[in-house]
């Protein structure tokens, strides 16, 4: 975490996002939020609570229940000089907008050879472990990160949530800003009161270690840190990297770490097949294979269509700290 000398405040993720967006809207008239229930309701997770009173109906827009509309109208606003923050109520519900996001927002700069741009932020709560079942638990980062023209970020600490949201607002291109629902209230941390940005494309080594590199992001990153702590008791030092930015991906930090530890594990909650870990593993295999002393290991969600509802099944789906601890130990002992 970059040093900051000013005062800080402890916040959870929702507070950090709420406060940052609120301050940015005060700072810059062009910033507008739009989405389902962002107005009087303040968002179903309360991220825009109080915004309507402060900024009025012109800048806090309750849209109809039509995600293509949210993205498409957002694009129009961005083209005309606004900075829209479009909320997808759940990442799962961004798919009716898939065409607008991937074929329009992502390509307007390229297809107009720079004539038009889409400085838009699309916020979406994602991820499971919240009794959300098949349609309120999904991880969507791999789908969007595959699409050139988009940036995809997943802050996992309140500090990053603030810095990356400001970065997203300043970014001249569309940014998919994903918020893990389970971290909203679970994860707390000190957040500087001053304004700062966290650049995209820079992973963060949150726990240095020599025995094993573990790459993750979002909720899983916290599970990984916990598992790593457990192993530290046995003298196994796990280096835990928080990717933060899925695209651009900080391959350098990962490769450099793997070169030191010689072992790599990637942990993600999304379905394993063609999830983010596939790309990270492929990058390592292409650029650091001879540094490795053990096969690359991926721990990820099983190949079922998202998390079932029943507690027994939801538990079955999610990678958990116990499993991670075991798998890390196995890999370290390899």
């Amino acid at each position: 975490m970059p040093e900051t000398n000013g005062p800080t405040t402890e916040k959870n993720m929702v507070q950090a996002i709420h406060d940052t967006l609120f301050e940015e809207m005060k700072r810059d008239d062009r910033v507008i939020v739009l989405g389902e229930d962002v107005g009087a309701r303040g968002g179903v997770f309360r991220v825009t609570m109080g915004f309507l009173d402060e900024f009025g109906e012109d800048r806090v827009i309750d849209t109809p229940l039509d995600e293509a509309l949210i993205a498409g109208v957002g694009i129009g606003l961005a083209i005309d000089g606004m900075i829209p923050v479009a909320e997808m109520q759940f990442a799962d519900f961004s798919f009716p907008a898939f065409n607008q996001i991937t074929q329009e927002a992502a390509r307007i700069r390229y297809r107009s050879n720079g004539d038009f741009t889409v400085p838009m932020v699309i916020r979406a709560p994602y991820g499971g472990g919240v009794h959300g079942a098949l349609y309120h638990s999904q991880s969507v980062e791999a789908l969007y990160a595959h699409v050139p023209g988009l940036k995809v970020v997943v802050p996992s600490t309140p500090y990053d949530a603030k810095g990356m949201l400001i970065q997203a607002l300043e970014d001249p291109d569309p940014v998919i800003y994903l918020e893990h629902k389970k971290t909203y209230r679970l994860v707390k941390g000190e957040v500087p009161d001053e304004r700062y940005t966290v650049p995209f494309g820079k992973a963060e080594i949150r726990r240095p270690g020599r025995d094993l590199t573990v790459v993750s992001y979002g909720l899983m990153h916290h599970f990984c840190l916990e598992a790593a702590e457990r192993l530290a008791g046995d003298g196994i030092e796990v280096e835990v990297i928080d990717l933060r930015s899925i695209f651009p991906l900080d391959t350098e930090t990962v490769l450099e770490s793997v070169a030191r530890t010689s072992k790599a594990m990637i942990v993600y909650e999304d379905n394993k097949f063609l999830g983010v870990g596939a790309e990270v593993a492929a990058q390592i295999a292409e650029h650091a294979m001879f540094e490795l002393d053990a096969p690359i290991k991926r721990i990820a969600g099983p190949h079922v269509p998202a998390m079932p509802y029943a507690p027994t099944l939801e538990h079955w789906f999610m990678p958990n700290v116990d499993t991670l601890e075991q798998e890390m130990r196995k890999l370290a002992d390899y």
Partner: protein, 336 residues
């Protein structure tokens, strides 16, 4: 009122129909009360309330022929699911996410109704997708020269999605045996219909070349009447119709919501005064089908049944995690 000029007689409804309809409305209401209670006790993490919509759902569902016609409902349709064949126990198996939940075996959130043997098509959370499935099933029925009719339900918020537009358009073009019912309760979570629907829902129908009716969704007989006309039209091969039923939900959107942030107490009270259940009771009294004693009796019976079945469901098993991989595909596909 002279026999034969009763509203229900004119609609071709018999006393048994009315009593059954009333019982379904009561059952839905008690299911709702029970599930809210369980939620408050921390036993049901997620509840979708139905209260307020009972007349719209029971009335519209009653217009269809069970065993032949097809239901494509949405999550709010607890009362409709009962009419289509769900027992209260089924409802609570779904609420708890138990193995024997007929909709999904505990895989989906509560209120995602579906059961092949009851002709209720599996539904999902993304809004309005079922409208296109309903159109496809209606096309299939037409191609098979079946006289089955398909019904699909959504809220007024659902009409904003492209899928609803597509279903309306396709149903209009192909004169499908489809009835699209919209339960307009004026809010999509917190968003008022004035921010949701330009013009009006029923006013859209004409532009798709089909009739659009609108009526009091808190009057079970009116809901029945408008839907029945649409079903008859569909069955006669005259094509699709839109039916908009005006109603209101008594509680928050779901147990995760707090409607006090966006609805005035007075408005809620005003609508609770139009509660469809007392209104139907008044009608039943007026045609002398039931008296106060019978009402109390039926309420007690229904409540007892619901409570008993809820308790049975609570004791049922959760799905075994070893089954979690089942039914991704017909045959198991391993991913290394």
């Amino acid at each position: 009122m002279a026999k034969g000029t009763d509203r229900h007689t004119e609609l071709g409804l018999k006393e048994e129909d009315l009593i059954e309809m009333y019982r379904f409305m009561l059952t839905a209401r008690y299911c709702d009360e029970r599930q809210w209670g369980l939620n408050r006790q921390g036993k049901a993490p997620f509840v979708v309330p139905v209260s307020g919509h009972e007349a719209a759902q029971v009335g519209s569902a009653w217009a269809f022929e069970r065993g032949k016609d097809v239901f494509c409902p949405y999550y709010r349709d607890l009362a409709l699911a009962l009419v289509a064949g769900f027992t209260p126990k089924d409802v609570f198996l779904g609420l708890f996410g138990k193995k024997d939940d007929p909709s999904s075996g505990g895989r989906q959130m509560p209120a995602h109704w579906g059961a092949k043997d009851r002709n209720i098509i599996t539904g999902s959370s993304p809004i309005a997708t079922q409208c296109l499935h309903a159109a496809g099933i209606a096309l299939s029925k037409k191609l098979k020269r079946s006289d089955a009719v398909v019904g699909t339900w959504c809220g007024e918020g659902g009409t904003s999605e492209g899928d609803w537009h597509g279903a309306m358009n396709f149903a209009g073009i192909h004169k499908l045996p489809l009835v699209l019912v919209v339960e307009n309760n004026q809010y999509a979570i917190s968003v008022h219909v004035s921010k949701q629907v330009a013009g009006s829902v029923h006013g859209r129908a004409q532009g798709y070349g089909m009739p659009g009716a609108v009526g009091d969704g808190n009057d079970v007989l009116e809901a029945y009447k408008l839907t029945k006309e649409a079903v008859d039209r569909a069955r006669a091969g005259e094509g699709a119709s839109l039916v908009e039923l005006l109603t209101y939900r008594h509680y928050s959107h779901t147990s995760d919501d707090d409607d006090r942030t966006y609805r005035k107490k007075e408005e809620v009270e005003e609508w609770k005064a139009k509660d469809p259940i007392p209104r139907f009771e008044a009608y039943l009294r007026s045609v002398e089908m039931i008296d106060d004693a019978r009402i109390q009796e039926m309420r007690d019976e229904t409540k007892t049944t619901v409570d008993e079945q809820a308790a049975q469901a609570e004791e049922a098993d959760f799905p075994d995690p070893t089954t979690a991989y089942d039914n991704v595909y017909a045959e198991r596909v391993e991913v290394r």
